[in-house]
Symmetry: C2
Subunit: 351 residues, 2 copies
């Protein structure tokens, strides 16, 4: 069982774990950031976990994320773009956490077809496999705040218009919609969580492909200044990864989540400049940040300020983020101080 | 020049035709229903028209639609899923009317990957080709009311939530979003029209793959009863194809349309039962209709009643439908009475 301190009341409840212990769970993108943290929690709670991951070098998969759990978690290297692997892997599972995705916004503009293959076509293949071979399993899909585009009001609730500003957002929206259509038309038991910025141990920090925050951690620990694009006044909200794992477990086990869409979010949103200052403070003043002009290709897909209204999941399913930003950042910096060679030394990435 | 009687004031204006006459125009899906009607109008107005069509048997392409214009319109048989053909064909064009699509909702649920290839992947290829080889041409994309899903209020305006109920709707929404993203990020001059039910000469009537109304025309002319699913109380609005051609021409030539989304619609919406009764009346009472239970797979993707609020395009661009439903249906029935062998005799389909 997971330790009480790091989880919300709901994600810790015996009822929830009664549904998961000894059950078969498949996690796509399971060697990645959120997937590996979820796999660790599930394995600790006695679930029979299989992770599937392609280990595409540009994405979040990293063998080190589960290297110490070789006996507990089955690792299956495969690409969700391959419908045959997927069709085999979904059979017999009780839960599917569908987290695999291409996450880099700039890459989606430079190579839109690859983003489409992963975030659209593979999603259809996964859902078709479930429909044909395992129509009763529970499915949780990780969507993203990116599908809202530039907020028209704050905080952004689930009824906000969906106007993605880049190909990644367009395709993630399609992926989300497939999950909802397969619920309504085929009766699949799907749920969609729209994640905001997630951070914590095991994220990709070697560059900014997964999130801008990753490269901030790296630069801070390497003694390089954090670079903030623009004036640093853009507001963001942040979830510590353990809180996101809570939400995934609750969404998977609460029948009221089926067919529904929920935002995640956090009470302590702040500007990027404030975030950078907080990070420097947590390093006892070691480090600095600099404001730099927006590169053109980033400016064109920037969404301005964002923070989520997450009352829906709080009120309906009882989820609440439990780890404060300060605490979460401190834990994350600790983690990378210890394990940096596995996250930004390319030669040792999967040692 | 097109005849004044069949077009709105705007689509007839010398200013509009000054932009089109002698210009190079590419129409994807140009042997299909709307594409061929558009090609005819453009050719009559002196534009240099190339149509590209795959002639996939299940879709709307039909050689007969342009058979009498062999000298005026260049017909290029190719599939928009082939990025190499597309890259070649967009070069040197002044306008692109991007109408190619998989339109059948049921097919999209039975074979979702094919729908994705045409309505998503090919759209990305077309836009990438424009970005690389012809970034200044004007592009009009034909989207669909299907992306709204089941209306939450009537009439449905462009701000209505987008919640498609089938894979076709999900993919058409992605296709629309790509066009908007490529405008905002890459500066392509795109415009999106969300079409409602369109009818008229040259539509597919051999079955209901393109629209339910097609098979109604066929059955009526064959002396078979029109079959209405459910209680026939569902409301729909209908545009005669000449009015849609007006809208396409206006959208392509009015700079205020760039980057914008517009509903099409009509003032005379009515229930399916009323529509069937009107058709029988137009045939001097020859014919009948029957209410039949919804087949399950159709019921699950039905959207209930729909009619559009089209004030935005009326107020901003001056478009108005000009052909009444009664007049349009009469013209359509006349057309198929004369040409039925080219539309539902499979052997003669492209004679």
């Amino acid at each position: 069982m997971p330790s009480a301190g790091s989880t919300s009341a709901n994600a810790d409840s015996p009822d929830l774990w009664a549904q998961l212990t000894s059950k078969r769970v498949l996690i796509t993108g399971g060697l990645g950031f959120i997937g590996s943290n979820l796999a660790r929690r599930l394995a600790a709670g006695g679930a029979r976990v299989t992770v599937v991951d392609s280990l595409v070098p540009e994405y979040g998969g990293n063998m080190f994320n589960l290297a110490d759990l070789e006996a507990e978690v089955r690792v299956n290297i495969a690409d969700v773009r391959d419908p045959h692997s997927v069709s085999h892997l979904v059979r017999g599972q009780d839960f599917l956490f569908n987290l695999a995705g291409q996450t880099c916004h700039l890459d989606s503009m430079r190579d839109p077809h690859t983003d489409l293959e992963i975030n659209c076509r593979a999603q259809l293949s996964i859902l078709e496999a479930c429909r044909k071979f395992n129509p009763t399993l529970k499915i949780v899909f990780s969507s993203t705040r990116q599908i809202y585009g530039a907020p028209r009001y704050l905080p952004v609730d689930e009824a906000h218009a969906l106007a993605p500003v880049d190909v990644n957002g367009v395709n993630k929206l399609a992926g989300e919609n497939y999950h909802l259509v397969y619920h309504r038309v085929h009766g699949l038991r799907t749920c969609v969580l729209r994640l905001t910025n997630t951070y914590g141990p095991r994220m990709r920090v070697k560059d900014d492909r997964q999130t801008f925050l990753g490269i901030w951690f790296r630069r801070l620990l390497e003694g390089e200044p954090i670079l903030i694009f623009g004036d640093g006044a853009q507001i963001r909200d942040f979830n510590y990864v353990d809180d996101v794992v809570d939400a995934l477990l609750i969404a998977a086990t609460d029948e009221r989540a089926v067919g529904e869409v929920f935002n995640l979010g956090a009470p302590d949103f702040l500007s990027l400049k404030e975030l950078a200052a907080l990070l420097v403070e947590l390093r006892d003043g070691q480090g600095e940040y600099r404001l730099v002009p927006f590169p053109g290709e980033r400016r064109r897909i920037d969404i301005g300020s964002y923070y989520a209204d997450y009352r829906r999941i709080s009120e309906r399913l009882g989820w609440q983020p439990r780890v404060s930003l300060r605490e979460g950042l401190a834990r994350t910096l600790d983690f990378y101080s210890q394990h940096q060679k596995h996250y930004w030394n390319d030669d040792a990435a999967d040692a």
